[in-house]
């Protein structure tokens, strides 16, 4: 109940969100998969936040080795087994969740921020500002996304911060394009012209009038992208470009565990990868449902 009230208030702040009142709960009731995905993400987030308190192997989660316990098969004591340094894998997965979730959110948030502002500026002012910004965007979009991120990350020191930086660098152009297209359709609206006529400064117009009205499809796209962001970070880590050991990160864990498959210790890379898969899938389902619901053409479809 409380959730739907909060949701309603949020929805009211963004006028382009055309969901009917009270339809939030109805929406989730119809779309079981979205509901399960949301629950999964919420539970995972809670577990991730509380990780140091939940698991008895908190230190190992942070990276401290426990050689005596190394390479244990999954058991009651270690539900997902232990890795080559004897660290409990379940604990490391929980700590890895922190890394992945935070990284995914930051990347999308940063890309949305940069993209929205640059796109709105380009769309609003038009002219040479528009041309310049769009050409720069085109140039960045010419690179296959992951490739540029890899190159940039490889050139900087391996760290989570740099990985996030590299990925954001390749992602913002998409949002710029989206924001610009939205801005172009919104800037002819009357309230923008009225504000302009009253002498409101351009940047205020952009911030107060344009951005709130274009932000919704951008946010929808953002939710869709969180899953992809998480996988991208993990892919970089798999290649050795993300967090340096001993920090727990799912992609890095798959990397470390890879060589141990050959001697039969299959659980080391399998479970972290599974966590990655399920998390990404949950975000993708959620994003997909949101997209179907907010698109007036597809809203009535049974999912």
């Amino acid at each position: 109940m409380a959730f739907s009230k909060i949701a309603k208030r949020l929805l009211n702040r963004f006028p382009t969100f055309e969901i009917e009142q009270g339809s939030t709960i109805w929406f989730f009731r119809r779309d079981r998969i979205a509901l399960i995905s949301l629950a999964f993400i919420v539970i995972l987030s809670i577990l991730a936040i509380l990780a140091p308190l939940i698991t008895p192997y908190a230190n190992e989660g942070l990276g401290e080795p426990n050689i005596l316990q190394k390479l244990q098969t999954p058991s009651v004591v270690h539900p997902f087994g232990t890795d080559s340094l004897g660290r409990d894998i379940l604990a490391r997965i929980l700590f890895g969740a922190r890394t992945s979730l935070i990284a995914g959110l930051i990347i999308v948030a940063a890309a949305v921020l940069i993209g929205t502002i640059s796109g709105a500026v380009a769309g609003y002012f038009g002219g040479w500002i528009d041309e310049v910004i769009m050409r720069v965007t085109d140039i960045f979009l010419a690179f296959p996304p992951l490739l540029l991120a890899m190159t940039v990350a490889a050139v900087l020191e391996p760290s989570l911060k740099n990985a996030i930086l590299a990925i954001t660098l390749t992602w913002w152009p998409w949002y710029t394009r989206l924001a610009r297209a939205q801005t172009v359709s919104v800037r002819e609206r009357d309230y923008v012209k009225a504000a302009h006529g009253m002498g409101v400064k351009n940047f205020t117009i952009i911030l107060r009038h344009i951005v709130p009205n274009i932000i919704t499809p951008i946010l929808v796209q953002g939710t869709l992208d969180i899953g992809a962001a998480i996988i991208t970070v993990s892919s970089l880590s798999f290649l050795g470009l993300g967090v340096p050991p001993p920090t727990a990160e799912w992609g890095a864990m798959v990397r470390e565990g890879r060589e141990y498959i050959q001697i039969g210790k299959w659980w080391i890379p399998t479970f972290p990868g599974l966590a990655l898969f399920l998390t990404t899938m949950a975000f993708n389902f959620l994003g997909d449902s949101i997209q179907v619901v907010t698109n007036p053409k597809t809203r009535g479809e049974t999912l």
Partner: protein, 345 residues
């Protein structure tokens, strides 16, 4: 805007983009905190050798000059020397590119030939359960981490079932007993041309898992898009009109509707190519394939900067060309797109 003007404009934009791409790769190479000379020499670095290396690599010249010499070298096809292999990068790329292209092209073809029919047939059938299941499968397919899927399949098909090889392009025995005459670098083509069916089969088996892994994301996306756009197309009046003329469902589905539905799918083809090229890095690493992807991965580990940029540049240029081709195909198929402006009769 006539056709000529359109092409000219497109080309002009393309050139601007290419120059921009070159600039960015150059800039990124210039902001490395480290010292290329030091990386080049590795552990043998002494101050004198460093200075000498810097001079050799042209690092002591002012930046704009470096950019110019960078461009001129590129124009001559010189991509630099790899720190790791000490060979000209261009040679390395020439050797490794076919393996990657074989992988990427195979997976894109698989995506189209499997994804399109499934998407089309999936649109003909609607119903709550069918919709839910197809949604589950397509979104699942899009969410699977390729490197993890590769590992799991290796685990299952090699370690557990022993049906498929662990990696590489050929087994050593086959290399020795039935060597392939390399003409194109595509083992499947070369072996077939010379009738070397033993090697062909071996190459094929080695490609199954990598192609399957790389194609997972594209297939899911193609199925999804095709199905969605088919459903939209099938509700259009011109389809009802075609039915009212007595055309069969099969004709309508595969001849008429498909052409209309293919267009939105075409727009993602470029993205799929980009995904496949970069995804091949991960797949080649897991399956130990000697292609451009693993070359890139090795360069990452050894911070072989010039390789990184050379590969990025080459791949980006290929990507730009592919996008251009796709745009042209789109204009060819959809008569409405041509060059803006109607010439009414």
């Amino acid at each position: 805007m006539s056709r000529g003007e359109y092409l000219l404009r497109r080309l002009g934009l393309g050139i601007v983009v290419i120059i921009g791409v070159l600039m960015i790769t150059f800039i990124v190479s210039y902001i490395i905190p480290g010292d290329p000379a030091r990386l080049y020499l590795g552990s043998r670095a002494t101050p004198e050798k460093l200075a000498q290396a810097r001079h050799e690599l042209g690092l002591d010249q002012p930046i704009p000059l470096q950019f110019v010499s960078y461009i001129s070298r590129l124009v001559h096809g010189e991509l630099g020397i790899s720190f790791r292999t000490k060979r000209p990068i261009l040679d390395d790329i020439k050797i490794r590119l076919p393996a990657t292209l074989e992988l990427v092209i195979s997976s894109m073809l698989l995506a189209l030939f499997v994804g399109l029919p499934i998407g089309v047939l999936g649109a003909a059938r609607r119903g709550k359960i069918f919709d839910q299941v197809s949604r589950l499968i397509t979104i699942g397919g899009v969410s699977i981490p390729s490197f993890w899927l590769a590992l799991i399949l290796q685990l299952f098909f090699f370690l557990y079932l022993r049906w498929l090889p662990l990696g590489g392009r050929l087994i050593n025995e086959v290399i020795m007993s039935h060597p392939i005459q390399i003409k194109t670098g595509f083992y499947l083509i070369d072996a077939a041309i010379s009738g070397n069916w033993v090697a062909w089969w071996d190459a094929f088996i080695h490609l199954i898992l990598p192609v399957a892994v790389l194609a997972t994301y594209p297939i899911s996306l193609v199925v999804r898009m095709t199905r969605a756009s088919m459903i939209e197309v099938l509700s259009e009046t011109y389809i009802t009109s075609a039915r009212a003329s007595g055309l069969t469902e099969r004709e309508i589905l595969f001849k008429l509707a498909l052409k209309n539905a293919f267009i939105p799918t075409l727009t993602i083809l470029g993205l799929l190519f980009a995904y496949s090229i970069t995804g091949s890095v991960l797949v080649e690493v897991v399956f130990s394939l000697p292609g451009l992807g693993s070359y890139m991965a090795d360069a990452i580990l050894s911070t072989d900067i010039y390789v990184l940029f050379a590969v990025t540049l080459v791949v980006t240029l290929i990507y730009i060309i592919v996008n251009l081709v796709i745009d042209l195909i789109q204009a060819a198929i959809d008569p409405r797109i041509r060059l803006g402006g109607r010439e009414d009769l």
